[in-house]
Amino acid sequence: AREKLQVTYDIVRKHFQDIFQHLFGGGKADLILDIEKDILESGLDIIAQPPGKKLSHISLLSGGERALTTIALIFALFKVQPSPFYILDEIDAPLDEANIGRFVNLLKTLASEAQFLIITHNKLSISEADILYGITMEESGVSKVVSVRLAAAAPKKPEPLPADK
């Protein structure tokens, strides 16, 4: 079990560093296992340094920077052991338009290896979906699934919003 964890740690760490730099457009990140203890009992520390900023504790990061760092970790774990499907409920809520764009672009590259269910209010996130379910309560208090837009059925995806909006 020790070797397995060590190997997994090495791979996740590498992916986390790469994906963090990709999402933040630079900067540095790392996962540090506390080596004093036995690996099976040690804690995992997260280091995140957005581009141009000094290294500081992750609690000083902003709401959006924390969300983006967590997304980098989730996708790094995905690279090692993809779960068959992922459910992300409004994880784009703290992100600004530019970071939503980067998140959505990364999501699209992973979507061929797993299924993603994304709940969102953001138009940019919606426009990149392959299939879109609308939930309404035409009869108040009772949920129904309405429109279904299949990417195949709608050959031209709505123009993704320009990131500068």
Binding site: L77, D89, Q115, D130, I131, E139
Partner: protein
């Protein structure tokens, strides 16, 4: 192995039988506040075995059964089914299509089913072991919970690595 469809019946605000086909790629779920989007996420974590009612935002188990509206009576049962395509044999079971069902009655009786045959939660957990679906801590990010991974204690975070190992 991939997810084919989700069926809800009497679960929270889904009074009538509702089916969501899940395609490969990105499925986006949208709708106004309170229409039932996060209830779908609750349904998925419940059918996969979630026992803690607080994680489903309720106080007692029957809080997940449709409770009525100004125009409808409460229902006596809630049932959710997840159907997987298993033609690649990813799940250690003979079938090319596998459905997992969970049902609960207002009386408190509840049951699990694999391809409509009654089973225990233990059987479902064994079936899902190794697929990444067993412990959903990084493949299911609930609404407002994106910060939980960064705020967790270092030992908790190590567990994420163990799941991926």
């Amino acid at each position: 192995m991939y997810l084919k469809k989700l069926e809800l019946n009497g679960f929270k605000s889904f009074a009538d039988k509702t089916t969501l086909e899940i395609l490969p790629g990105v499925t986006s779920i949208v709708g106004p506040n309170g229409c039932g989007k996060t209830n779908i996420v609750d349904a998925i974590s419940w059918v996969l075995g979630e026992q803690r009612i607080r994680m489903l935002r309720g106080y007692k188990m029957e809080d997940i059964i449709f409770n009525g509206t100004s125009g409808r009576q409460p229902i006596g049962m809630a049932e959710v089914t997840l159907t997987f395509d298993n033609s690649d044999g990813g799940l250690p079971i003979e079938y090319s299509e596998v459905s997992i069902t969970r049902r609960i009655y207002r009386s408190g009786e509840s049951g699990y089913y694999i391809n409509k045959k009654a089973c225990r939660l233990k059987d479902i957990n064994e079936l899902l072991l190794g697929t990444g679906l067993g412990n959903r801590s990084y493949s299911l990010v609930g609404q407002g919970r994106i910060d939980q991974i960064l705020q967790a204690r270092p030992e908790e975070r190590r567990k994420l690595l163990e799941e991926a190992a």
